[in-house]
Each structure stands twice: as structure tokens, then as C-alpha cells.
């Protein structure tokens, strides 16, 4: 049987998992969640069944890690996010945009209820069918479908430019 080196898994799925973590947690906590997800996945990888859906497996781990990161973030004092000085590049290269260039999107996502953000992330970003999102969130297919739709609608109203 052919076993892929874990590096190939990271290259193939790293971007999607990062987008999911960003949508659920915002750009800062997303990186901690991504790291914890891939460390846990690396640990368990040799036991992963042949033919398993790797992306769904990673998203399931990411969901668990997002909860951990969210909990530990909730215990930290609330920090006002740093805004770059007007006219500066905020410490980033001017050529490659950072998440800060989509402040509107983050602000919009932050206003969504957790459930809507999760439904959006797992369905629209990770591509899980609603039935699987429902299992992941301990909900029903109809409910997560509605959450995703409501969330998407709100995002489009608040931040149409980024989502066109």
C-alpha cells in the first residue's frame, strides 16, 4: 500500500485548514490552532486507515483544536487588536497582502454567531457536505444548512467587496 509522506499532506491540505481556522478563530488564534492540528495529525498519521478522507479527518481535528484555542483565548485578557498606522504597511511586505488587508471581512466574521462561522467554514471552505458538518457540530443537517446560509447572507451584506 502506498503511504504518503506527511509533508505531502501538509502541502496538500495546509491552506484549506488555515482558512477554516481563520474563519472560525480569526487571523491571530488561527495559527495556534493550525499548529496544534497538524502536530496532532502527525502523531496519529501512521494509524490513519488507508483510503480515509484526509481532509475531513484534518478538519475534525481542527474543530477540536479550535475549541481548545478558543477556550484558552477566553481566559486571556482581551487585547485590542493592533491597527497599522495609516500609510504604513503594518510591518508586512507591501507586495503580499496580509490578513489585515481584509479587516472588513474579519470584522464581519467576528460579528457572526460561532455556529454560523463554523457552518460556513466547514461547508464552504473545507467542502464538507452539510450532513458531515451536522455530525461535527452535533446538530442537524437542516440547522447547519440554515446557519451557513444566514452567515453567508450577513457576510455578503456587510462585506460585499471582499466576497465578490
Amino acid at each position: 500500500m502506498e503511504v504518503k509522506p506527511f509533508e505531502a499532506i501538509v502541502r496538500e491540505h495546509g491552506a484549506v485548514v488555515l482558512r477554516v481556522c481563520r474563519a472560525v478563530l480569526g487571523p491571530d488564534d488561527a495559527e495556534d490552532a493550525w499548529s496544534e492540528t497538524f502536530l496532532a495529525a502527525l502523531r496519529a498519521y501512521p494509524e490513519l486507515q488507508a483510503g480515509a478522507n484526509v481532509q475531513a479527518w484534518l478538519v475534525t481535528i481542527a474543530k477540536r483544536k479550535a475549541i481548545d484555542v478558543h477556550r484558552s483565548a477566553a481566559r486571556r485578557p482581551v487585547l485590542v487588536p493592533e491597527l497599522p498606522e495609516p500609510g504604513s504597511d503594518g510591518g508586512r511586505s507591501t507586495e503580499t497582502p496580509g490578513p489585515g488587508d481584509h479587516d472588513g471581512l474579519w470584522a464581519a466574521l467576528r460579528t457572526l454567531p460561532q455556529r454560523q462561522r463554523e457552518a460556513l467554514a466547514y461547508h464552504h471552505l473545507a467542502g464538507l457536505p452539510f450532513a458531515e458538518v451536522a455530525v461535527l457540530l452535533g446538530s442537524t443537517e437542516a440547522a447547519v444548512r440554515r446557519s451557513a446560509a444566514d452567515g453567508m447572507k450577513k457576510l455578503r451584506t456587510m462585506d460585499g467587496e471582499d466576497l465578490r
Binding site: P5, V10, A15, L42, D101, L105
Partner: protein, 207 residues
């Protein structure tokens, strides 16, 4: 409510969340490699360097350098072999390869004649391993015949087996199977191709 929610994954949302992603992923991959090393989860670390004999893949277990792969073998194929034979917990993690990279660069620059590195011979077993372990008895700039190598390995009759062991040496360049040539003067086969073997022999002869 008729919302366009059936596009999966949503292209607009995906691209908006992908901003700055390449830099973030590069940073995260380095962080993953460091975290994996720290937690003893990195069974095989690898990196790729360029050299006069083409791109070389260098892979190490915690015990030492375990594989040197030539470009013509296909690095992806080599990594898949390592996944199957050692462990799929494999990451690009150049830090563990720092000493082999430095010594190989010195070797190719002509300033190093012997490698002083921990080596993990687990990919060569039995008589093949005995042969591979004796390859380093052949000094820099020298050559030996397959028959002489078989004798060095303690089995003068096993000339063919010695040849096979050289052909499958998991640590070429570092463990000098390129110094074994045919007794009729022909250069003989080499995992990295006969041009690579000739390049190494000429380089050593000129030093």
C-alpha cells in the same frame, strides 16, 4: 431565501481568507517541523541541496543520516519509499540536516575527504550492510574492484552480491560506493547514473 450557498468551496470567501497565506504557511511549516522535533514525532527529516551531481535529497532519522537520494531517482519516489520502510512521519526539516549539508558542501568544494557523521544503516540489511559498512575503507581518490570489496566484506566469493550492495547503497556519496569500479576498467553502474560516478571520481582524482 435564495442564496448561492451551493458552491463548494465558496471561491469568494476562500480567496478573501487566503490573503497572506503563502507567508503564513511557510512560517507555520517551520513551526510544525520544530514542534515535531521537540515532541519526538519527526521520524524522518529531509532537505534538498544542489550539487555537481544534481539535486541531492538528504534524509535523517534521530539516529543519523539514513538516505541520500539522487534527482534521477525521483525525490518523491524516495520519500514514498522512506514512508513505507521507516515511517510516514516525514517532514521537510532542514535543521536536522545541518551537519550533513555542511560536510557535503565541503566535500564538493574539495576541502573535505572524509565524512564524520552519525549514519543510520537500517535500509541496508545482512550482507549488503556489511558491504556498505566496508565501503568507507576505500580512501578518498582511490578505487577498488567489486572483487576486492567482496574480500573486504569477508566473503571473497560474493562478487555479484557486493555489486548489488553497491547499487543499492542507501547513502551514496557519503558512503563511497562510487569508488568501486569494474576490474575490466569500465566504470560500472551507479544509482546516480554513470555520469555522476565519473564526476565524483574525476573530482577526487584532481584534488
Amino acid at each position: 431565501m435564495s442564496l448561492p450557498v451551493d458552491t463548494v468551496p465558496d471561491a469568494g470567501l476562500s480567496s478573501a481568507l487566503a490573503a497572506g497565506e503563502e507567508q503564513a504557511l511557510a512560517r507555520l511549516q517551520a513551526r510544525l517541523a520544530a514542534g515535531a522535533e521537540q515532541r519526538d514525532l519527526l521520524d524522518v527529516a529531509y532537505t534538498v541541496i544542489d550539487s555537481p551531481v544534481g539535486d541531492l535529497l538528504l534524509a535523517a532519522t534521530p539516529a543519523g543520516l539514513v538516505r541520500v537520494g539522487f534527482g534521477i531517482e525521483g525525490h518523491d519516489a524516495v520519500l514514498e519509499q522512506l514512508a513505507a520502510r521507516i515511517s510516514p512521519r516525514i517532514l521537510a526539516a532542514p535543521e536536522r540536516l545541518a551537519a550533513p549539508v555542511r560536510q557535503l558542501k565541503e566535500y564538493f568544494a574539495g576541502t573535505r575527504q572524509r565524512f564524520d557523521l552519525p549514519l543510520d544503516f537500517r535500509l541496508a540489511t545482512g550482507f549488503r550492510r556489511t558491504v556498505v559498512e566496508h565501503l568507507s575503507d576505500i580512501g578518498y581518490g582511490a578505487t577498488a574492484s567489486y572483487a576486492a570489496l567482496a574480500a573486504l566484506a569477508g566473503n571473497p566469493g560474493a562478487v555479484r552480491a557486493a555489486g548489488t550492495a553497491c547499487a543499492r547503497n542507501p547513502l551514496p556519496v557519503v558512503v563511497p560506493c562510487h569508488r568501486v569500479v569494474r576490474s575490466d576498467g569500465k566504470i560500472g553502474n551507479y544509482l546516480g547514473g554513470s555520469d555522476a560516478k565519473r564526476t565524483l571520481l574525476q573530482m577526487e582524482a584532481a584534488a
